[in-house]
Structure formats: C-alpha cells, structure tokens
Subunit: 206 residues, 2 copies
C-alpha cells in the first residue's frame, strides 16, 4: 500500500507546487509585492494556506522558488536542460555572449515573465532585505556564469588580463536592465548584439 | 504699492515652492509613490492644498519639478550653474566622462536623493505612463548630454564612426544603474572610472 501511495502523493504535491508557483507569480504581477499575501496565493491556487506554510516560511520564499522554477522552465524550453542557462563556450566569445543576451531579452519581454519580474524588482528597489535575498539566491548564480565565461575568455586571450569580470559583466547586463526598466528604447536582439560588440570592441577606435 | 508688493509675494511663493518640493521628496522617500498624496504634501509643507493645486495639476507634476529642482541644486553645489550638469569637453573624453559619472555616483548615494529616487523608480517600473513622463522630462535631457558629448568625440576621432551614441551611453549609465538598483556591490568613484575605461577601451585585447 505504501508503494502505491507514495508516487500518487508525489504527483499530487508536484501539481500543487506548480499551481502555487503560478498563483504567486500571476498575483504579484497583478497587484504588486506588498499586496500579495499567502492567503491570496492559496485561494488562487486552490489549496489551503496551511499547505503553503508547510512548504515555505514566507511569501518571499514562495516567490523566490517560483522565479527559480520559471527560469528553469525557460531554460528547458530553450533546450538548455533543467539546471538553467549555461553560457556556452564555443571559443567565439562574442557569439556566446550574444546567444545568452538574446535569450535574456526574450525572457524580459515575455509577458509571463515581465509582470512578476517588474513587481519584484520594484519591491526590491525600496526593500534592501528583500533585494539582498533575491540577489543572493536568484541573480548571483546567473552573474557567476558570466564571471566564469569571462575568466575562461581571459585564459584564452580573448579578454584583457587586467579586466575584473565582476565589472565587465555589468557592461553586458547593465545596459539591458537599464533599457528594460526605464523603457527608453525597444529591447531587441539587435540591441543585445550591439551591446556585446561595443563592450568587447570598445567605443574608442582600434 | 504694487512695486513693493510684487517682490514680497515672489519671495513668499519661492519659499512655499521650496517647502513643497522638500515635503514631496521626503514624503515619497518615506511612504512610496502610491501612498503620497497632495494632501500629505500640503500638510507637511504647511500650505493649503489649494496652493499646490494652483501650481500643479497632479502629484506626479509636483514630484517631477521637485526632482528637477533637486538636480539643479546638486549641479549648483558642484559649481555647474543652475542649468544642471553639462558634460565638459576638455578634449580628454575619458576624463570628462569620469567626472560626470563620479558626480552621478555622488548623487545616487546621497541620502537626500536616494530614498525619493528609489521610490519613484519603483513606481515607474510598474507604471508605464508615469515612467514615460519622467523619462521624457527628467532622464532624456540628461541622456542627450551624453549623446552630444559622444558625437563631438566622434567628430574628434575619439569614438568610432559607426557607434550609435544612444547605445554607447547605456554602456556608461547602465552599469551604474544596475549596481545602484540591485545593490550588488559598492557604488564608488573607482567603479565609475573602471566603467569608463572598460567601455572606451573594450574588454578584448587591443
């Protein structure tokens, strides 16, 4: 009996978990972080709020995992596997960076992703504690991929030896974030390509 | 009689105007954009709310002018004159850009400036209309200074001919905005200098 029960309850948990993620993301996108509550998430997901409290200590914790899951889904859809995006190393640094920045553009303009990400970013801007938690658990692991790829490029002689990868990566992701946040101009693949070319080649004549 | 009355009322208006700006900025920094009201600003400034409505049609309009005034004050304090920052043209592009990005760092970490700017940015991220108004009236005029300086640099041969100044400027301001918004690492003059050097020289070896 225990043998047949375990897979059933696992499937049920998995369904509930996914329903809770979806509810949390759609709710935060619609009403903002401050107005999103565990009760609201539970009601929309069709589960009791005790189910949520059993798995997560806070709404920030639910949302954090929901965003990680969303990123993993996007990576799986892009054929990158469930571990999330990796920055490829084909030996062509410009091409590798363009691939990953184009994928970032696709994610940022995807409506499923955009509303909750804007809501969470808005909350993080004025809430240092929330911001620190999401930067540590969600953003830093992604930025580390840039650090690693840029270090490999340094070893291959494609990036200057004195460059600090932590600053270099901000010349790549900073312009995308700036344009997305402030909506100054369209966020496109062409823009992503130009950012990579300008950052690698520099603005000054060679 | 009219001769003596006009300057008095001008001085009085000027005092009220400054008190309203201060009240609007401090209030939005403390409670956020959504919870800031014309009534609240009036109460804190010690004026009637009709005084505010006589001069401005909305709280967004008050805040817009308050931010412009704050920028002008910072520029005056930096000895740049009441017209706001200009990007100098000494013929040394790197030095000129470092000067203006260092001043931007100073402004972004100034407590008087930081809380209201974070509150307004958070509101703009989830409110496209508000964002568009502030980008058009507050941000674009500043970005145009970069466009002009980069065009002059192109004419002088210090920036490659094919570079689009609107993209190039985002390699300068984007990294600063990214670090400020997400608090990933300290926002310092050294960082501003590195961003300028990396953007002009490029990450790839020369």
């Amino acid at each position: 009996m225990a043998d047949t029960k375990a897979p059933d309850s696992t499937r049920r948990s998995e369904r509930s978990r996914r329903a809770i993620y979806d509810a949390a993301l759609s709710l935060v996108g619609e009403t903002g972080y401050a107005k999103t509550t565990i009760e609201g998430i539970a009601a929309r997901a069709g589960v009791g709020k005790q189910t949520i409290y059993r798995w997560w200590p806070s709404k920030a914790a639910v949302l954090l995992e929901a965003f990680i899951d969303l990123g993993n889904q996007a990576a799986e859809a892009a054929g990158a596997g469930a571990e999330g995006y990796e920055i490829p190393d084909t030996g062509d640094l410009a091409a590798d960076l363009k691939l990953v920045l184009r994928a970032t553009v696709d994610e940022l303009v995807d409506p499923k992703y955009e509303a909750p990400t804007r809501a969470l970013t808005a909350a993080g801007i004025v809430d240092p504690e929330l911001c620190a938690e999401f930067v540590e658990k969600l953003l830093e692991p992604q930025l580390q991929l840039y650090v690693q790829r840029l270090r490999t490029a340094q070893e291959a002689g494609d990036v200057r030896a004195g460059i600090d990868p932590h600053i270099a990566l901000e010349l790549l992701v900073g312009p995308l974030a700036h344009r997305w946040l402030l909506r100054t101009r369209p966020l496109t693949h062409e823009y992503a390509d130009a950012v990579v070319d300008y950052a690698l080649g520099g603005l000054a004549p060679r």
